[in-house]
Symmetry: C2
Subunit: 137 residues, 2 copies
C-alpha cells in the first residue's frame, strides 16, 4: 500500500469507530491484533472499544496529526469528552476533559496488527486539579 | 527532504541529545521551536533538555519506532532510567523505571519547529506501585 492508501484506510478506520460500526471493525483490524503488547485479538479489541464508549458516551476520535509510512501509521488523536465515572484511575465523574492520545499502528495485509498507545494522563490530572481549585476557591 | 533524509536527520538529532552535544542542537532545532504548544525557542528547548539530564543522569533516548512522512516524524522513544527525585510529579527518588514517549515533530527548513509529546506516566505509576507493594510485602 502507498502512503496515501494507508492514510485513507486509517481515516476509514476512525470513521468506523466514531460510527460504532462494530460489524465492520474486522475490515480494519487483524484477527491477531495486539494492543500495548496484550494479544487481544479482534474480539478483545472490539470489546475494549465497546467498553470505552460505555464509559464515555460522548467519545469521539478526532485526528489532529497523521503520519503514514507503510506499514506504519502514527496518529495524534484529540478528545473532548465526559467520562461517566473513573478514567485511567482518575475520578472524572462526568467532568468535561480534553486530552490527546499519541498512537502508533502497524498494518499487516491491510489491517491493524499492533497498536502502541500513550494517553496524556497528566493533562487530565491538571484539568481535574483546576476544577478542584475552582470549586474550593 | 525525502522520507529517508528526514529519518536520517532525526536519528542524528537523537544522537546529539544522547551525546549532550548542546552546541550542535541548533543544527536540528529551529530558533522558534514550540514544545506542546509552549514557544520555548532554541535556548528554552536546550534548557529543558539540560534540566532533563540533570534530573535523570542516566537518561538515554532509544528509538523503538520511527515513522517519517515529510514534513513530519513520529517516534516512539523507550527509556530505562533512574530519575533522582520526583519526575512528572511522581516520587521516583532513584528507583529504576521503564517507560515510553510517543512524540510527533514538525520540520521546517530541515529543523524541528514543533513537538507534540506524550509520556506514559501511567506505566511509571504502575512500576512505583509494584515497588511499594514489594516493600510492604
Amino acid at each position: 500500500m502507498t502512503t496515501t492508501d494507508l492514510a485513507s484506510v486509517y481515516r476509514n478506520y476512525i470513521a468506523c469507530l466514531n460510527a460504532q460500526d462494530w460489524s465492520s471493525l474486522g475490515r480494519f483490524v487483524h484477527d491477531e491484533v495486539k494492543h500495548n503488547g496484550r494479544p487481544l485479538g479482534l474480539s478483545g479489541y472490539r470489546e475494549m472499544l465497546v467498553q470505552d464508549f460505555e464509559a464515555i458516551p460522548d467519545l469521539f476520535f478526532r485526528i489532529e496529526l497523521l503520519v503514514a509510512e507503510p506499514p506504519r501509521v502514527a496518529s495524534r488523536l484529540q478528545f473532548d469528552c465526559t467520562p461517566k465515572d473513573s478514567f485511567l484511575g482518575l475520578q472524572v465523574n462526568g467532568q468535561r476533559v480534553s486530552f490527546a492520545e499519541n498512537v502508533f499502528y502497524e498494518f499487516k495485509g491491510g489491517k491493524i496488527v499492533a497498536v502502541w498507545s500513550v494517553i496524556d494522563k497528566a493533562a487530565i490530572e491538571q484539568q481535574l486539579q483546576k476544577n478542584d481549585d475552582a470549586a474550593a476557591g
